[in-house]
Amino acid sequence: MFLDLEHLTMRFGGVVAVNDVTLSIGRGEIHGLIGPNGSGKTTIFNVVSGYYKPTSGKISFEGAQISGLPAHQITGRGFARTFQNLRLFKSMTVLDNVLVGMERHTKTSLWRAMLDPVATQREDKLLTEKAMSLLNLFGIAEFAHARATSLPYGNQRRVEMARALATDPKIVLLDEPASGLNETETDALRETLLKIRDSGVTIFIVEHDMKLVKSVCDSITVLDYGKKIAEGCYADVSRDQVVIEAYLGKEEDL
């Protein structure tokens, strides 16, 4: 498959945050990862994107093993992500935030920048154009020169997604993209997710908004206490007795 997690386990001291999870994501699909709070969803993201080395198990991407690589190299293989609690570069403008995402595609070295300012400017212009078109996709181009963290919450989420896509990823990991959004904003997010998927980028998404999950995800994995308890399409998973109990036990509705 495209992205495979095999028997992935992550322990912090005595706590087992992720317990022997195996899952596969196909190219071009939207794969949902759901489960009650504290079930290990974000930890899986952090392991996949290289912040934690898994205690055991392995992760392979396009057939090559990537577990244990440093975070920036994993990004280099075509991963991008957003964060549950926004992590924008706080002193930068919206545009600069997105330009950082393009870092791995820029070519001019420092020496070149000093000796050939014209070429540098040309490249800058090209990158800026690309960044602006991404901002346009998310409808936030007008804020390009505003400080990113001064935008309202919903727009900050959009900046984060634009920044993630700026790395030109093959797969993007979205950690609760709908949290804090109102209904209109969530509807717009749905459209964007489908647009991203149609442009050929695989999406791996953690989300609590079940309406959104139901309407966009091609397949779903359900976690509880770090263990995989179900997987399949939304219809199958939502009828699964174990899943219903896991959610009922936590007094959350599916």
Binding site: S49, H72, R87, F89, E103, M114, F143, P152
Partner: protein, 339 residues
């Protein structure tokens, strides 16, 4: 010319150039020129610190050690082998740059105040080597008899002539720093300072840039060290101590951390203010300390932070100011058609 702002800019540049070139000729005495020369060296040190700490967020109190490496490299090569400043300058810069990169290695593992301590420890260690390896450095006695440079047969033998050398180096140092800051390297530095985790997620190789930032700081301090050795013809370990790093840190913070102009304001302002206050004795230092506390408590952005605030509230644009960032309050309400 169609654009009046270009003319205004041109006038500013002309006035500035004239003032800079004429300064030693109109200065009241040699001592004043010497103070300004030292301020020039402090600007170089502060630019280095600013790139590493202000832009990349790398707390570095080992600055005095980089400075010492540059100065001792020049002093030893010159007194033993008669190597001129023109050769010492690149060698000293490379040496200090390498030391900067080496010091950055442990910095990758530790953070924040732990990092502050590690850099203090490394700086102290280098200083102790300077004091104790007397066969090489002559210990606390220092090294004297370093030659002042000559250029095309002209001896650069006094503060007035040395001024132009330092001026050139500071200008080059500033232009290079500006290019770094505007380049994607500067963007990556700021990304790492703002949020290292997110920077890595964007594919920024944080470790590489952190080493690079410290190495660049080393290069700047190395250059300042070589110039210092040849300007004063005598060096001793005490000026490369930890407290020198604190002094440079103070001027950078007072000027404005994370702003190249801040390095100029602090690097020029602090030594000159201290000279002006000399003679009042210890009360002067008490006032100096109180001033620092006031800056920290009320103007954490330093002098540059104050000018920025003034600029935003009054709408006046300084001739050298870049286009201000737009705050969303000035924009219309966001539309909700996007995602």
């Amino acid at each position: 010319m169609k654009n009046p702002s270009i003319i205004i800019k041109g006038v500013w540049v002309a006035i500035g150039t004239l003032a800079l070139v004429a300064f030693p000729l109109v200065a009241p005495n040699r001592y004043v020129v010497h103070i300004v020369n030292m301020a020039g060296l402090y600007i170089l040190l502060s630019l280095g610190l600013n790139l590493a700490m202000g832009y990349c967020g790398q707390i570095n109190l080992a600055l005095g050690a980089f400075w010492g490496v540059g100065a001792y490299t020049a002093a030893l090569l010159n007194t033993h082998f008669g190597v001129p400043i023109w050769v010492n300058l690149p060698i000293g810069m490379v040496f200090a740059g390498v030391v900067g990169a080496l010091i950055a290695l442990p910095m990758l593992k530790v953070r924040s105040h732990y990092l502050a301590l590690v850099t203090i420890g490394l700086a102290e260690t280098i200083n102790i080597i300077l004091v104790n390896e007397t066969w090489l450095t002559q210990g606390p006695l220092g090294i004297s008899g370093i030659q002042m440079p000559t250029l095309f047969g002209i001896a650069i033998d006094g503060d007035e002539r040395f001024y132009y050398l330092i001026l050139t180096c500071v200008l080059i140092g500033f232009l290079v720093a500006r290019q770094i800051v505007r380049h994607r390297i500067g963007r990556s530095f700021i990304a790492i300072r703002d949020d290292e985790v997110a920077a890595k997620a964007m594919g920024v190789n944080a470790a590489y840039y952190q080493i690079l930032a410290n190495s660049i700081a080393g290069v700047y301090c190395g250059a300042a060290g070589v110039l210092y050795a040849h300007l004063n013809t005598y060096i001793s370990p005490d000026i490369f101590e930890f407290k020198s790093a604190l002094y440079v840190l103070t001027m950078t913070l007072v000027g404005g951390m994370g702003s190249l102009a801040g390095s100029f304001v602090g690097g020029l302002g602090l030594p000159i203010t201290q000279e002006l206050l000399r003679g009042i004795g210890n009360w002067e230092l008490v006032g100096y300390g109180i001033a620092i506390m006031l800056v920290v408590l009320f103007f954490p952005g330093g002098v540059i932070g104050i000018t920025r605030r003034l600029q935003e509230s009054s709408g006046i644009r300084w001739p050298w100011a870049r286009k201000p960032t737009v705050e969303p309050s000035q924009l219309e309400e966001p539309n909700v058609s996007g995602p």
